[in-house]
């Protein structure tokens, strides 16, 4: 039994191969290779403009790959199909809840998009809200909730249809430290206990645990990937903040010495 995601026999839920995307002349992603590991809290780090949202939109099916592809369970996803989308939960960076409707109405709407009956939806909504301590907010309008509660509702909604893969795009922006910690702890717990695969895009590094697989995206390319503490060690930096700061500094290539990416077979490649 292996618990190291970067060992050869660890399963990848999503394998991104040679993926590129341009907006006109602006190249957002450049021949990206990246594995999203099953049952792990996969952290996608990068400063603003690194290409995180583009990758996120590609994986959500809101953009189509212009070059390269991603595989879901070894099946190429040129156009994400219903089976993929039925197993995908998404929390977008901006709130996508209807502010004038109640928490319950918003969640029922989402359940209907996934073909749930009222009864099934009711039981799932109660279950998810209870887990996030929101059960007595079901009749409140979303407008009346604070930022942290709204985020929790969004997470409950994204997990309502019991997806195996949950993507969150900068889900903790604007939240206070304790709420951020609670949310990441909660999702780490669900990864460990239920095998949920999480893709967590962020620029806030304190949300990542030392054993999480991390990929550092910079200017559309994977600059580092590996287990969080290993990446820090390989890059010869104090922590991930330091790494991001050095990458975004204009003299980045000179300051970083041991930059490496690890691929799925456990070998390492020089990336800079």
């Amino acid at each position: 039994m292996t618990t190291d995601p970067f060992s050869a026999d660890y399963p990848a839920l999503i394998s991104i191969r040679n993926l590129s995307h341009n907006y006109g002349k602006l190249q957002a992603l450049k021949t990206l290779d990246y594995d999203i590991f099953t049952g792990q809290f996969n952290a996608l780090l990068g400063a603003n403009g690194a290409g995180k949202s583009t990758l996120f939109n590609l994986l959500a099916g809101l953009l189509r790959p212009q070059q390269g592809q991603f595989d879901y369970l070894n099946q190429p996803m040129t156009s994400p199909g219903a089976d993929y989308l039925a197993n995908l939960g998404i929390v977008f960076q901006q709130s996508t809840l209807d502010p004038d409707l109640t928490v319950g109405q918003n969640l029922h709407y989402h359940a209907s998009l996934h073909g749930f009956s009222r009864k099934q939806a009711r039981s799932r909504i109660e279950e998810e809200l209870e887990r996030l301590n929101l059960q007595d907010r079901i009749k409140d309008t979303v407008r009346s909730l604070n930022g942290g509660h709204k985020r929790r509702v969004e997470i409950a909604r994204a997990l309502l249809h019991q997806p195996g893969f949950l993507m969150l795009d900068e889900a903790t922006v604007g939240l206070d430290l304790s709420t951020r910690k609670q949310l990441t702890q909660y999702l780490h717990q669900r990864c460990k206990q239920e095998g949920l695969t999480v893709l967590w895009t962020t620029h806030l590094i304190e949300e990542i645990e030392a054993s999480d697989p991390v990929m550092v995206l910079h200017k559309g390319t994977a600059r580092f990937s590996g287990i969080s503490h290993q990446v820090i060690q390989d890059a010869g930096v104090a922590d991930l903040t330091d790494l991001i700061e050095q990458l975004t500094a204009s003299h980045a290539p000179e300051t970083i010495t041991g930059s490496e990416t690890a691929n799925n077979s456990g070998k390492t490649n020089q990336s800079i």
Partner: protein, 319 residues
């Protein structure tokens, strides 16, 4: 159905939490309630694969869910109901009353006798209610797209064409209470079609609403900003309404000039108005029906294509 056929691991089935004395969400921020205690090492975890088999019932549930949301939003925005009603009533009661003396309308199908101007413009005003409703809804999709709730719709597993059709149909159904409220008030100013007309106008209104909704949806895919509703008013709603048979019969337009007549005949809104006019008097205008149906199909196809991720929605959006 998706959740029926779900492969749910044992650990997912019972997310229990012990009951606590205080309402949990009112408590101080501690960690959320513990999930099931069953630990599954990552290597033993197989991806949770659910076969997506919605079936007819799944489609129906999605459709009713989308419709319900539209109605809930409509109820939330009560002012929208009144403004949607005030506009055609002003035309009916103020404008038409003034023009009644100037414009006599002679006997023409589907009317069996001389009619007042109010009776003539009532179907056009029904079409106007639908036009505003459809355009407002299409524009709200621009808003939804900016705010992201359209992304939620587009990342759900049902086919995109079905989702957009459901959204348009929901908009069409939301317009119905407005139309019947208008017809009720119009009855007091002697617009009294036969009772069969009140029923026959319903499918006609739904079809017209689908047509105008898909035109609106197509136009909205080119609009990047919400503020452009003023532009839509000037360049879409007003020309469509005035260059049609809503306010004047086509033969009057023909008298005014061949160019004006040609434009009015080519305007899809003219055929929408005529379809509603005939159905309100229990008759079927086959030409209008065929044209409205064909235009609906064409624009629905264009609208669905414009929401293709490669071509529409996020086409020019920077990361």
């Amino acid at each position: 159905m998706s959740s029926d056929s779900a492969t749910v691991p044992a650990s997912k089935q019972s997310p229990h939490a012990s009951k606590q004395s205080l309402p949990a969400s009112r408590q101080s921020p501690t960690a959320f309630q513990q999930a099931s205690p069953t630990f599954r090492p990552p290597s033993e975890v197989s991806p949770l694969i659910r076969q997506w088999q919605p079936g007819v019932i799944g489609y129906w549930r999605t459709f009713t869910g989308i419709t319900q949301r539209e109605f809930l939003r409509f109820i939330q925005q009560r002012t929208r109901f009144f403004s949607a009603l005030i506009r055609p009533l002003l035309w009916l009661i103020v404008f038409a009353a003034g023009f009644r003396a100037v414009l006599g309308v002679s006997i023409m199908p589907p009317y069996g006798t001389y009619i007042t101007y109010q009776v003539y413009i009532a179907p056009g005003l029904i079409a106007m209610i639908i036009l505003f409703n459809a355009m407002q809804s299409a524009l709200s999709m621009v808003y939804d797209r900016e705010m992201g709730s359209m992304k939620v719709l587009l990342t759900s597993p049902q086919p995109r064409s079905f989702l957009l059709f459901s959204k348009l149909m929901a908009t069409a159904l939301v317009a119905l209470p407005q139309i019947y409220a208008f017809l009720l008030i119009a009855w007091f100013v002697d617009v009294d079609p036969p009772w069969s007309g009140y029923l026959a106008v319903l499918p006609a209104c739904l079809l017209v609403s689908l047509m105008l909704g898909s035109i609106g949806l197509f136009i909205s895919s080119f609009i990047r900003q919400l503020e452009n509703f003023a532009g839509v008013m000037n360049f879409v709603i007003f020309p469509m309404f005035f260059l049609s048979s809503a306010l004047y019969p086509l033969w009057k337009m023909q008298e005014a000039g061949p160019v004006l007549y040609a434009i009015c005949t080519a305007n899809p809104f003219t055929h929408a108005v005529e379809l509603i006019r005939f159905s309100l008097y229990g008759e079927l205008d086959i030409t209008s029906l065929a044209l409205v149906f064909a235009i609906t199909l064409a624009f629905l196809t264009l609208a669905v294509l414009s929401f293709d991720p490669q071509k529409g929605i996020l086409r020019n959006k920077k990361r």
